[in-house]
C-alpha cells in the first residue's frame, strides 16, 4: 500500500493515476516548442558525451544564462535531455576509439573497444544503444511511480526533516566524491559559507560582502558553476597535450544477433535495477554504478576470464546501469528538491533561476513541468536510439575537431554567459576568479561537487535550521526526537564515521578500478 496524506492507495490506483498524468504530460510535451527543445537537449547531450573534457555539468552551466527568458518546462526538458543524452554519446567513442567521453563510459572501453578491434563494433554500439534505451525507459517508469509517492511523503516534512535531509545529502556526496573525505568536507563547508554571502533574508544584515556592492545579492550559481565546471576544465585540459589520435574503425551491422541478445538480456536487466536504485542515492553518480555493474556481471558470468577481451555482457550491463542511474537521479531532484550529483545540483539552480521552488510541492504546484519532463524522457530516449545509430559517423567526425579550437568557444561562452546574467562586467570578473579557484582546487585534488551542493543547499539548510530551533525554543534535540529526521541524521553519521573504520571510500574504490 502506498500511503498518501489524504489516505491510502492501492497499486492499481497508483498505476491508473500515473497513466492519466502521463497522458497529461504527453499533451504538454507534444507541443512543437517542447519537442524542439527535447531534440536540442538530447543532441547536445550526445555531443558533450562524445567530446572528452566537456561534461553535462559544464554544458548545463553554459546554458543557464540562455534559459533565463525561456519557458520553464521547455528549458528543463532540454537540460534533462543533456543529462541522459550524455550517457549515450559517451559509449560511442568508448567503443570506437577507446576514448571515454564521460566518466560513466570508462568501463565500456574495456570490452567495447576490444569488440570493435575484432570487427564487432556494430553489435557493441547496437547493444549499448538498445540497452541504454531499455534501461532509460524502465528508469523513467520508476521515476513516474516513485517520484510523486516520495513527494507526497515529503509533504509531511517540517523544518527539522529538511535540515537533516540536506545534511544527509551533503554528507553522502562528500563520502562518494573522488579523493579524501576531509577535502570533500572542507569544500562542502566552503559551499555553505558561500551560500550565506549577501543579505541575510531574516535580519537584512549584509554578510561576507566586505563593502563590495556586487556581493550584496550573494553568489549566483551561474558563474560559480560555469567557473568551477566550465573554465577550470579548460585550464586542466590546457595543461595536457592538445593532440588527440583518432583511430579509424570500420562499423558493420549495428543490429545485435540473437545470441548477442541472449547474452545481454540478463546483464541489461541487472544493470537497470542496480543503476536505478543507486542513482536515487545521493552521491552515486552514473560512473560508480557502471563499475559496480561490471563487477556484478563478472561475478555472475560463467566465463569471467573473458571479461576485458570483448564480451558483450561487459558492454550491456554498465551501459544499462548508467542510463537507469541517470533516470534515478531525477527522483530526489523532482520530488524532494535534493540534488544527488553536480548535474542535478545545477538543475536545481536552473529551476530557481526559472522562478520555481524545488521541493515536495513542485509536483503538485507545477504538474505540467513534472509530467512534461517525464513524457519528454520517454520520447527523448527513443529519439536517441533512432537518431544516434545512423549518426555515429558524424559523432566520430566531430571528435576530430581539435581542442585548440574548441576551448576558445567554451571560454567565450563562459564569459558571455556570466555577463548576460545581470549585464554586469563584475560577473565576468567573478567567473574568472571562480575558474582560477576551481582550477587550483583541482590541482590540489579538491572536488567541486560538494562546494556546488553546499552553495545550492545552503539557503534551505540555514532556513530549516533556524526555523527548527525557533520551533523547539532553542532545543537542538528536535533533530533527533523526530523519527524521520533522526533516520536521516543516523545515515549521515554512519557515512561520516565509516571511512574511519574501513579506511576506504566508494569513490576511491571506483578510482582504483579505473586505474
Amino acid at each position: 500500500m502506498f500511503i498518501f496524506p489524504g489516505g491510502s492507495w492501492g497499486f492499481r490506483e497508483l498505476i491508473l493515476d500515473a497513466l492519466s498524468n502521463l497522458a497529461f504530460g504527453f499533451s504538454i510535451f507534444l507541443q512543437p516548442i517542447n519537442l524542439a527543445y527535447c531534440f536540442v537537449g538530447v543532441m547536445l547531450g550526445t555531443l558533450v558525451g562524445v567530446l572528452p573534457g566537456l561534461g553535462p555539468s559544464a554544458t548545463i552551466s553554459l546554458l543557464l544564462p540562455i534559459i533565463f527568458h525561456a519557458d520553464p518546462v521547455s528549458s528543463i526538458i532540454m537540460l534533462a535531455g543533456i543529462c541522459y543524452g550524455a550517457q549515450y554519446g559517451g559509449s560511442t567513442t568508448s567503443i570506437l576509439l577507446n576514448i571515454p567521453g564521460e566518466a560513466s563510459s570508462v568501463i565500456t572501453c574495456l570490452d567495447g573497444y576490444q569488440m570493435a578491434k575484432q570487427g564487432r563494433a556494430g553489435p557493441a554500439l547496437g547493444i549499448a544503444a538498445f540497452g541504454s534505451f531499455i534501461a532509460g525507459t524502465i528508469g523513467v517508469c520508476g521515476l513516474m511511480l516513485l517520484g510523486p509517492t516520495l513527494a507526497n511523503l515529503a509533504l509531511r516534512f517540517g523544518p527539522p526533516e529538511f535540515f537533516s535531509l540536506a545534511f544527509m545529502s551533503l554528507t553522502l556526496v562528500t563520502y562518494v566524491s573522488k579523493g579524501s573525505l576531509i577535502r570533500s568536507l572542507i569544500m562542502a563547508c566552503v559551499g555553505l559559507v558561500m551560500s550565506t554571502v549577501g543579505m541575510d533574508p531574516i535580519t537584512s544584515r549584509s554578510r561576507f560582502t566586505f563593502g563590495v556592492p556586487a556581493l550584496l545579492d550573494g553568489f549566483e550559481l551561474v558563474y560559480v558553476a560555469m567557473g568551477f565546471f566550465g573554465l577550470s576544465e579548460v585550464f586542466v585540459n590546457l595543461g595536457q597535450s592538445m593532440n588527440q589520435e583518432i583511430i579509424q574503425t570500420k562499423i558493420k551491422g549495428l543490429l545485435p544477433t540473437r545470441q548477442d541478445w541472449k547474452d545481454s538480456a540478463k546483464p541489461i536487466a541487472r544493470g537497470t535495477v542496480l543503476g536505478f536504485f543507486l542513482g536515487i542515492l545521493p552521491g552515486f553518480g552514473a560512473a560508480i554504478t557502471t563499475f559496480v555493474s561490471y563487477a556484478l556481471e563478472k561475478k555472475f558470468s560463467k566465463h569471467p576470464e573473458k571479461f576485458g577481451t570483448g564480451t558483450i555482457e561487459g558492454v550491456a550491463g554498465p551501459e544499462a546501469a548508467n542510463n537507469a542511474a541517470s533516470s534515478g537521479t531525477f527522483i530526489p531532484l523532482l520530488s524532494l528538491g535534493i540534488p544527488v550529483n553536480p548535474s542535478t545540483a545545477i538543475l536545481i539552480g536552473a529551476l530557481m533561476i526559472l522562478g520555481l521552488q524545488p521541493g515536495p510541492l513542485l509536483i503538485s504546484t507545477r504538474p505540467d513541468l513534472f509530467w512534461g519532463v517525464i513524457a519528454s524522457m520517454y520520447m527523448g530516449n527513443l529519439m536517441l536510439v533512432v537518431l544516434n545509430l545512423p549518426l555515429i559517423g558524424l559523432w566520430v567526425q566531430i571528435l576530430k575537431v581539435p581542442y585548440s579550437l574548441l576551448y576558445v568557444f567554451i571560454v567565450l561562452i563562459c564569459q558571455i554567459g556570466a555577463y548576460s546574467v545581470n549585464n554586469d562586467v563584475n560577473d565576468v570578473l567573478l567567473i574568472n576568479i571562480f575558474g582560477l579557484f576551481g582550477y587550483l582546487m583541482k590541482r590540489y585534488q579538491f572536488e567541486g561537487a560538494p562546494l556546488i551542493l553546499g552553495l545550492v543547499l545552503g539557503r534551505m539548510f540555514e532556513n530549516a535550521m533556524r526555523r527548527s530551533l525557533l520551533l523547539s525554543d532553542g532545543d537542538p534535540l528536535i533533530f533527533f526526537t523526530r523519527p524521520i529526521s533522526a533516520v536521516f541524521l543516523v545515515i549521515a553519521l554512519f557515512f561520516l564515521i565509516s571511512p574511519i573504520l574501513t579506511k576506504k571510500k566508494i569513490g576511491e574504490e571506483a578510482i582504483d578500478a579505473k586505474e
Partner: protein, 142 residues
Amino acid sequence: MRELRSGLFFFGLSLLVLWESFRVELGTLKEPGSGFLSLFAGLGILGLSLVLIIRGWGVREPGKPHSHRITLVLISLFVYSFVLDSLGFIVATFFLVAILFRVGQPRPWWYLVGMSALVAFLSYLIFGVFLHVYFPRGFLGI
C-alpha cells in the same frame, strides 16, 4: 607539501569566516543570528584544515608542472574582464579570441585576425542581436 599548502590556505580562510561570523552576530540557540551557520561551517573548515596541516607537515611531494598556456589564458581573461567596459564587447572579444587562438596553436596572422573578427562578430550577432544581451559599447561606440 600539497596538503600543507592547501591546509594553510583553508586555515586562513576559516579565521576570516569566524571573524565575520562573530561580527554579524551569532545570536542564541533560541534565536540564531546571521553568523550562526557560518560559525559552524568556519569551525568545520578550521578543524579539517588543521588535520591537513598536521598530515602534510614535513611531507615533500614533487610539484606538478604548470603549463604557461594556462597562465597566458588566465592573464588574458582577467585583462578582458577589466577592459570589457571601456573597449566595448566587439573590440575586447576580438583581442581575447586572437590570444586564445594563438595560445591554442601557432597560426598565421591573417588566420588569427580573420577568425577572431568572425568569432567576435558572430557572437555579437547571436547574443547581442538575437538574444538581446546589452553588451558594453566602449569608447568607440561599437
